[in-house]
Homo-oligomer: 294 residues x 2
């Protein structure tokens, strides 16, 4: 079986940076180390950090008494950051620099008097964080589709910032809708380039293989979107978190398999997926051999 | 025959203002009065101003020695305006206030360091005027379709202003394209509301009639666009400048006719179109009567 791995799979820049900061931190510190929410959206990596580096994910600052708190790659709400500061916790900011930039731009737009719209999913932690940075804004809205803005009255000027992992078309739809809602629109296209490159590469790969595997956390929005994109091209696409989820029957008749992954999927998970496919293949061959002999 | 006239037909605000300024001017002044280019895009109105108010359209300031010069509704290039000033001509600015606003916004965007794009038709006099207001901008581009921007390199920030009579969808296409070309986009939606209302109303009217008449100058971009919109809905659509162009054969079998007009078409042209339709109808009836009698 031919195995193809998307060139852009594995940790993105922001995730790599966050994990490096966390592991550095655990080497240097004797204190307890926590993250506010999972540091990245991959349960296996979070568990590994817990087991090997004693870094524990906590939901709120209230749950942390003292020590070091790492701000996760998606960022946190400003109130949480301030609460950690007031408590005197040692703060290590692992917010992805692209997310950080988007946070600053939300503040800037609010300060410049724009009615701010965040193009993104309202329940995503990055978006929840972004919302909190609209300091002084009367009202900030979140929308992943123009329908969510239907009740918005006409504005003098609208400022738009995007969730870094948003699909470009969704931002376009929202911007087009807003063109009819204000005379002035300022858009910061904060969609991370790495996300769109990964999506394009994965789509191309999905076109040429018989089976497509999207490795990544089920709580990861960018993994979910990759899965949707690939499945629309190759119906035989699956989303797994770990190699052991792969079933030999699923590969029946396949001559090629493509592997891509979300931005928070480590290389060792991709390696284990490759290993598992090879095991399945060799097992299938042996069983095929026995069947012939019978 | 039922005759329906689009509610929004006739002079738009800017055209009405320009014609009023010109006629006021001719009443008050004993000097020669000129316009730089036709004051509006309607040859019949331009001729009437010439005949009754002795206001003559000239192509350039060079052709004017002294007297009053009226700046047409679409505006002129800044160089022309400055040349008229330097010559000591008495300037009456009849530029549509919406076009004036767009000119100011081009200057503002250029001053703020945006790579300026004018969404519009590059040969239209309004666009030619707008281009001249990008003072200090390294390069200003004009595009009515993203294809015209294909060779544009990536920019830090792009500022977009629209020709006031542009179709909203064209602006959307250009904005969407630019979202992939810069991290920051500032759009001033300078499309005049009256244009889109007129287009929508005309489209609705074209749906319910057997014949559709678009009255307006053949040199008028907004008339041409109205004609295209109506013809796509009702193939029996014609564009006329004057009532006498209407032919009785064209109405054969029709039970209803809709009339709309470009923003520079005066009410008296619409009135004469209605009169002509009634004449044709009564003529057809008489001929029908005679035919029956034979």
């Amino acid at each position: 079986m031919h195995i193809f791995i998307a060139k852009s799979s594995g940790f993105c820049f922001g995730v790599k940076r966050a994990i490096n900061l966390a592991t550095e931190c655990s080497k240097e510190s004797n204190e307890a180390i926590y993250t506010l929410g999972p540091i990245i959206h991959n349960p296996q990596v979070v568990k590994r950090l817990e087991d090997s580096s004693h870094i524990y994910a906590k939901k709120t600052v209230d749950e942390i008494k003292a020590g070091t708190v790492i701000i996760r790659s998606h960022g946190v709400r400003l109130e949480e950051l301030n609460a950690a500061r007031e408590k005197g916790l040692n703060i290590v900011d692992a917010t992805c620099p692209f997310v950080k930039k988007a946070q600053e731009l939300v503040t800037l737009l609010a300060r410049e008097g724009y009615a701010v719209i965040i193009a993104g999913e309202k329940d995503h932690p990055e978006v929840q964080g972004l919302l909190s940075y609209g300091i002084g804004a009367v009202k900030i809205r979140v929308a992943s589709h123009p329908d969510e803005l239907k009740d918005m009255p006409r504005k003098k000027k609208i400022g738009i910032v995007a969730q870094t992992t948003l699909h470009a078309e969704k931002l376009q739809d929202i911007v087009c809708f807003c063109l009819g809602k204000a005379a002035e629109i300022k858009v910061f296209n904060t969609i991370c380039n790495a996300t769109s490159i990964r999506q394009e590469e994965s789509a191309l790969l999905a076109k040429k293989v018989d089976r497509m595997i999207v490795a990544g956390g089920r709580n990861s929005a960018n993994t979910r979107r990759l899965f949707e994109i690939c499945r629309a091209i190759q119906p035989m696409t699956c989303n797994i978190e770990e190699a052991k989820e792969l079933d030999s029957d699923w590969f029946e008749g396949a001559e090629s398999v493509g592997i891509t992954s979300g931005a928070s999927t480590p290389d060792w998970i991709i390696d284990s997926v490759v290993k598992r496919i090879k095991e399945i293949e060799s097992l299938n061959k042996k069983q095929g051999g026995r069947a012939d002999a019978v």
